[in-house]
Symmetry: C2
């Protein structure tokens, strides 16, 4: 971070600039103008416009120059790589600032996890800001690796790198004025930090209650109607285009001459394949322009709007004193980035990643404390009917139904013929390896088993399969890798990916993880699963805040009743 004294000396021309960028057509996000505008950079920050003495001159003739893009809300963990690998991958797509919510690692490792992320974010070309997770754990019907109470939350919110209290998913807690929730919001307010919202479908008086707490953003809108109601109440709307949740097409009609200034883009959760093949915020900007949004406006929503919303005065624009983060492209109506500059240095070329991955010097603490020998996956047969989770591809929601249970030697077992498979969630934090067990439909395995340590939001180990032996084999593999994904058949591992950082992230590149994921999905498909990504589907089956029937380490959860429920009916 350059001190203002040095910035001023450079801007006044008293110290020579490093680089003068000439002849580019600069998009001025403040005034909406596009003008040929030279600008100078020193030590990674913009000095000013016009002619400056510089050690080097770079000619940008033929290029449009836009400020680098901002992802207003993202979980790095969803890309299954460390902040360093994420930064290297995503900056190449033009995203030079992200507001990361380390919600997943916080559920696994608590404050230590958040601190690992903060430490990982240092010395990256990408500007990684953080929002402090507000809802860890998500519920008391599961065992997470940590509990973040208001005191711990307050201690983190004073840090400069933490610019907001992250998505307040516990909207019942807000509406019914839960004491801890109130205190976390008050603390953020005292620190003059934003409180981000997460209020899917909330409307009317309950939405008024939520807003009156000072929660002034939302990234969960799925319709123009919903977005407009929230905008009218003063919420800033983050239009999300992730891997699973894609709201761009539905929300674009809400962007108009009045509302656009309180709207911005985010990805929330985006998998490596989509980042690599489609892009990141650049993809959203492209899509928006293709759908008829004025390109300058789409860029403003990707740059100055999130900067203004979060009060970040050193990004979001090409202007004196701000980070020299900018992107170059030739066609305003088909924005393909040819080069990305971060802190004045080339960070990406034609969407390709440059530079090495520099992971955190801080070791991420282990988060795999279980005893394989103690795990018991058997389900004693108690009655002939069981509740079955119905997994839905590409949805976080599940459905449910009841079915006849198959008995074998006094146990209820999987029935691949009806696609009713055993599913289990094994607690991985306390060492007691408590296990919730049930049945799931929709995964489609005809043989073998899968296991994963990515199971929202507590990220215990989840496994499903046709037989206990393969399930246990897959679980053991995940445990031995300190986290990750595994596919097992006939007591052998046919594919795996290690995610040793908190059981959530690899230290390798997005491309490497993407290749492994393709291999894993092929292996699962070879077992009969028709799903495009069985691990993504699996990962949401343990999330007890989204209806209908879910499973945690404590057992089955009837989400609509917000209560545990019996497997046998």
């Amino acid at each position: 971070m350059m001190d203002i004294k040095d910035k001023i000396d450079a801007a006044a021309g008293r110290t020579p600039a490093d680089t003068l960028f000439c002849n580019g057509h600069m998009i001025n996000v403040f005034t909406g103008e596009i003008n040929k505008q030279d600008f100078a950079v020193k030590d990674g920050y913009i000095c000013g416009f016009g002619r400056y003495k510089a050690e080097e001159t770079i000619d940008l003739s033929g290029f449009y120059v836009s400020p680098g893009f901002v992802d207003a809300h993202v979980h790095i963990e969803s890309a299954m790589v460390t902040p360093a690998a994420f930064a290297r991958g995503v900056v190449a797509k033009g995203t030079t600032t992200i507001v990361a919510d380390p919600h997943e690692i916080a559920n696994v490792l608590g404050i230590k996890g958040v601190e690992y992320m903060l430490s990982s974010a240092e010395h990256q070309l990408m500007n990684i800001c953080f929002a402090m997770p507000s809802c860890v754990p998500a519920t008391s019907m599961e065992t997470a690796g940590a509990v973040l109470d208001p005191v711990k939350t307050a201690a983190m919110l004073v840090k400069d790198e933490i610019i907001a209290l992250a998505e307040m998913m516990n909207y019942p807690g807000v509406i019914y004025t839960d004491a801890d929730v109130m205190e976390k919001i008050r603390v953020a307010g005292r620190q003059k930090k934003r409180v981000d919202g997460h209020a899917p479908g909330l409307s009317g008086k309950y939405l008024h209650a939520y807003v009156s707490a000072g929660i002034l953003s939302d990234h969960e809108c799925t319709s123009t109607h919903e977005a407009l109601e929230k905008l009218r109440l003063g919420m800033h709307i983050m239009i999300r285009e992730g891997t699973c949740a894609r709201n761009l097409a539905d929300l674009l009609p809400a962007v108009n001459d009045h509302t656009w200034r309180r709207m911005m883009w985010c990805t929330d959760d985006r998998h490596p394949e989509d980042i690599i093949e489609q892009g990141h915020i650049d993809h959203i900007v492209r899509q928006a322009v293709n759908s008829g949004i004025d390109p300058v406006r789409a860029i403003q929503m990707a740059t100055i709007n999130p900067a203004d919303y979060f009060g970040l005065i050193d990004i979001g624009a090409i202007a004196p004193g701000r980070r020299a983060d900018f992107v170059l492209f030739r066609d305003l109506y088909d924005i393909c980035l040819e080069q990305v500059f971060a802190l004045g240095r080339v960070a990406g070329q034609s969407g390709q990643y440059l530079g090495e991955i520099t992971n955190s010097a801080l070791d991420c603490p282990g988060a795999m404390n279980l005893d394989i020998k103690e795990i018991d996956l058997t389900i004693p047969f108690k009655s002939s009917r069981v509740q079955v989770i119905k997994a839905l591809e590409n949805q976080v929601l599940t459905d449910c139904f009841t079915a006849d249970a198959i008995e074998k030697k006094g146990e209820a077992v999987s029935d691949p013929n009806r696609d009713i498979l055993k599913i289990a969630v094994i607690e991985r934090y306390s060492g007691r390896s408590g296990t919730g067990k049930g049945f799931v439909n929709g995964l489609g395995l005809k043989k073998g088993a899968v296991a994963s340590s990515v199971a929202h939001d507590s990220h215990n180990i989840i496994t499903a399969g046709t037989n206990d032996k393969d399930m246990l084999r897959a679980v053991r593999e995940v445990a031995e890798m300190k986290g990750g994904f595994a596919v097992a058949l006939d007591n052998r591992i046919t594919a795996s990916l290690a995610l040793p950082v908190a059981g959530l992230m690899s230290e390798h590149s997005l491309e490497t993880v993407n290749q492994s994921m393709k291999h894993l999905v092929s292996a699962a498909n070879a077992l009969g699963s028709p799903l495009k990504d069985i691990f993504m589907t699996l990962g949401f089956l343990a999330l007890p805040v989204i209806p209908k029937l879910k499973i945690t380490d404590k057992g089955l959860v009837d989400v609509e009743k917000f209560a545990m429920t019996d497997l046998f009916v």
Copy 2:
């Protein structure tokens, strides 16, 4: 301040509202829409839209309902009344929030003066936010009542009521990286508070340097060209329409579909007469609409824009959780306020003030420490030519010329025939009563003298007149009143106004002060002065940061050379 828990209970409808406001046409500053919209208020804050159970219902049929207006930069002292009297007077004009810069009282009393203002702001219907004065004293060529160094500034910037570092007038200090200036800006940055600018005419690399310090507003633009240059660099532009400086007409062409969102209104310095007869921010909004600005846009610039700029999430809109500050009018194209509500209560009716003035419980410390007997106004005759300050009506600038001095008994004396009057500035803080002496042209007195304790920025006592006896008589009156204005003729006071609060403010109402001012100006006119307000003209003659020739307690100042200069040439 209502706690969020109570706000949420009210918004959710669990506790009954105080008042339901029905059938008004609400201006939604977020979406630009005007819709018939009921809304409820509880304990001074908005609960939400639609039907709420309430103890009382008020029908707003036929009215437009706009959020209350915001003055983004104002010196209360310029209205010569206390914050309490200012609030009562200005809220009736629809201004429900101001960002006050107590620069004048800070020059007189330092931190104690600022604390008096903070204390006075409590328990007012108007929401009075403060910006911490950044430049006290303005120069070392005068004696102010206080020096506010970075340590004192930092101690104040942590307070919630102080939302910004006020206008950084010392732009040379920024551009040349003065250590104290740098430190004040850094402190504001650490507190996540805005640093307001004041950079008249600054352009090019020096402006880049100023902006790169993180100073992101300006209220000193006098041309569209200047405003656009600043907007392009990311500055927010406050369009000022005060009593002396009026920039609205010149800057309106800079307001366009892209720039408007970074623009807002302010008054800076506005005298009682203008407030009473023309209005306050309402006057600016009216003028803007008359000049063709869309009324909703003019209102957005008066409400949500300053709220967003300063990060004030509890004002600027009619929305859940925000202060129930709003105004009613019938014609969108001729906005005459019929009623003003502040914290849900009627605070003004047809522009008339309601309620009492509740001044601060804190006594304002005295600031009049001089010994009349020690004051020597004689100017020993040293040569035949003197430098003369040429006062220009309605301008802060002066001109200057040299003239023959009149000798009488070894002294240089006033010559009313040529309108060359003696002028003196008497230091009022240390008790040593050091006096700077010189001559002034343009005041027009043919007999008698005037004196004032309002003399920017150090506010020592300034006097001018045809003879020493009347000058001393006027000074004595000002001193005995603990500050104010006086007109003396033949050793008698013909008119006076006491400003006992720091020698700058009256505890009486705007109307009372306005009446006294009219009387004072008549009395000065009776002495031959043609000026519309001789005290305003006088008040700027001691301001050594605005060219050309000025006078302080230390003597004559050549502002262009930024140095003291001799009276005799």
